[in-house]
């Protein structure tokens, strides 16, 4: 046979991926410049879900802006609420009672598990493993049911409140949660059997989307993205809030900063979250769940219904908002995606003069070109999965 020698004309191709694409996990749009299968340039476009949460927050009282934070990272709204109330409490200069702190830590870690489990399910589904996705939703469903029993809502919970939590936990809730906690490690083992040593999975993730420790810090990455590169930075350890300084847990670290190490880190985080929940249940002592600072926190509901003074007090707080001293506060919390920060500027009225949300997904989306450029198109999917972004939080 004669060798066919023909000059084939090649040219670069620009394709638009998203905003409607199942693997972009929301409304993320990437414009990819391709040379064959290689990505030369990747330009992310965000903002399709921009609702102006910062602007809305500046026109509401501190209490009324709480439900807005549910809509940031809607997969783990509990963690956003906890971050928000902690920031507001810091600004007010008040502290929640011990029991409320433990409850908040507990529910925040439940939120972490439910978020990581969605990340695991969708990430491996994108790469081609369908099975863990189905099992992952079974566990998430149990946490959602627990949330529903706790506060009546599954997704947009608004359960933590400024000065404590909305209602105390019941014994049935704790029993059910304890049962879940005892069972959950074996479930993670199941996922790990399916995925961790899987040859296809390893080929798709080892050495993909590598970012070194120095680069990761310079890019401002946080959470699993940063710890996958081996940087030991966890806000729960560095600046403990709630009851994180009273529970024991380890911070899982990666080494190579690739998709596989980030996977291992997040799997480790789920085990640690489980450990924290267990300790919280065991250490939960009796006591009030709402702080009593009449200037800043609402009076209990049953007293409002009996006492006119309390009713007036509640009315004034709700309509005008608490009077906050002038000043500014930045407070960060470790949500499943990374560092969620709230920055408030108070001008002495009941509403924040400036409310800023530092969203981890926003920073992580900006690092996509760094991860994707020079790789293959198929690895773009792996990279979107590994950065674990939620566009509601990215666009705010």
């Amino acid at each position: 046979m004669e060798a066919i020698e023909k000059k084939i004309e090649t040219k670069e191709l620009t394709i638009s991926m998203g905003p409607q694409h199942p693997a972009t996990h929301g409304v993320l749009r990437l414009v990819l410049d391709l040379d064959g299968e290689t990505v030369i340039k990747c330009t992310p476009y965000v903002g399709y879900l921009h609702r102006g949460i910062e602007k809305l927050g500046e026109n509401r009282t501190y209490f009324a802006a709480l439900p807005l934070t549910d809509r940031l990272d809607y997969i783990s709204s509990m963690n956003n609420n906890v971050g928000y109330v902690n920031a507001v409490e810091k600004l007010f200069g008040i502290e929640a009672p011990e029991r409320a702190k433990f409850i908040r830590t507990m529910v925040a870690e439940m939120g972490r598990i439910s978020s990581h489990i969605i990340w695991l399910g969708t990430h491996v589904l994108d790469i081609g493993a369908t099975t863990p996705f189905l099992y992952a939703f079974r566990e998430r469903e149990r946490i959602m049911d627990l949330f529903e029993g706790l506060c009546g809502a599954r997704l947009t919970v608004s359960y933590p409140r400024v000065g404590g939590v909305r209602n105390d936990v019941s014994q049935e809730f704790l029993d059910e949660l304890y049962k879940f906690v005892l069972e959950f490690p074996s479930r993670i083992d199941d996922y790990e059997t399916l995925v961790t040593e899987n040859r296809v999975w390893k080929k798709r993730t080892v050495g993909i989307g590598v970012i070194s420790a120095e680069e990761a810090i310079n890019w401002g990455l946080t959470g699993g993205m940063l710890r996958g590169s081996g940087v030991n930075y966890d806000i729960r350890k560095h600046m403990p809030y709630d009851a994180y300084d009273k529970v024991e847990f380890d911070v899982p670290l990666g080494k190579n900063g690739d998709c596989y190490d980030r996977y291992l880190v997040r799997m480790g985080e789920m085990r640690q979250a489980n450990r924290i929940i267990k300790q919280c249940i065991e250490k939960l002592a009796a006591g009030p769940v709402m702080a009593d600072f009449p200037k800043f926190t609402l009076p209990p509901k049953d007293l409002i219904l009996k006492d006119i003074e309390r009713l007036i007090h509640q009315f004034v707080l709700i309509t005008k908002g608490p009077v906050v001293p002038e000043g500014e506060v930045y407070s960060a919390s470790e949500v499943p995606k990374g560092e969620l920060g709230f920055y408030f500027v108070s001008d002495g009225t009941g509403k924040p003069y400036r409310m800023r949300v530092r969203a981890p997904s926003f920073v992580h989306a900006s690092v996509l070109p760094k991860l994707c450029e020079g790789g293959l198109v198929a690895d773009v999917i792996a990279n979107i999965g590994t950065i674990d972004i939620v566009l509601g939080e990215c666009d705010r």
């Binding site: 965000v46 310079n218 930075y233 506060v329 920055y343 800023r356 926003f362």
Partner: protein, 176 residues
Amino acid sequence: MEPLQIAEKIKEKFPDEVLEIKEFREQVSVLLKKGRILDICKYLHDDPELCFDYLVDLCGADYAESKQKLEVIYHLYSISNEHAIRLKAEVPAINPEIDSVTSVWTGVNWHERECYDMFGIIFKGHPDLRRILMPEDWDGYPLRKDYPVEGQDEEWRGFKAVLDRSKRFKEFEWKG
């Protein structure tokens, strides 16, 4: 290092730049002139004792009504030395301009774009200063205090274009 010590150190190094040092709830903010912000950031990043390797956040704030000024706020943290500081740089409300710090922290890129998008502050030396959350042809800067919460009276022209297009496609609708 204690945050107040850091603030004093900045004042020692750049005595003419620091306008005010304030402490509230154990957090220290340093109000600066905008002129040498890049030098100050480089110094904070490179000095081994300070070593602010991680820029947590950059955002803007609008004080046009009270002070005729906008502010750019930098939250810095040092992962190796575990200390934090807040810098605030004043820019005039008319023709707001400031040097970009992307050469020091790469990750600040999108934060500066957002700040430009929401407040109209121009970052000189930024590699790709475009709007990020709002559409390219949006009028006004949403997070400024003179921008109404409900939005402007007139509909965005891009939305009109979408409506027109949907009307044109109406003839293809399934009549069943």
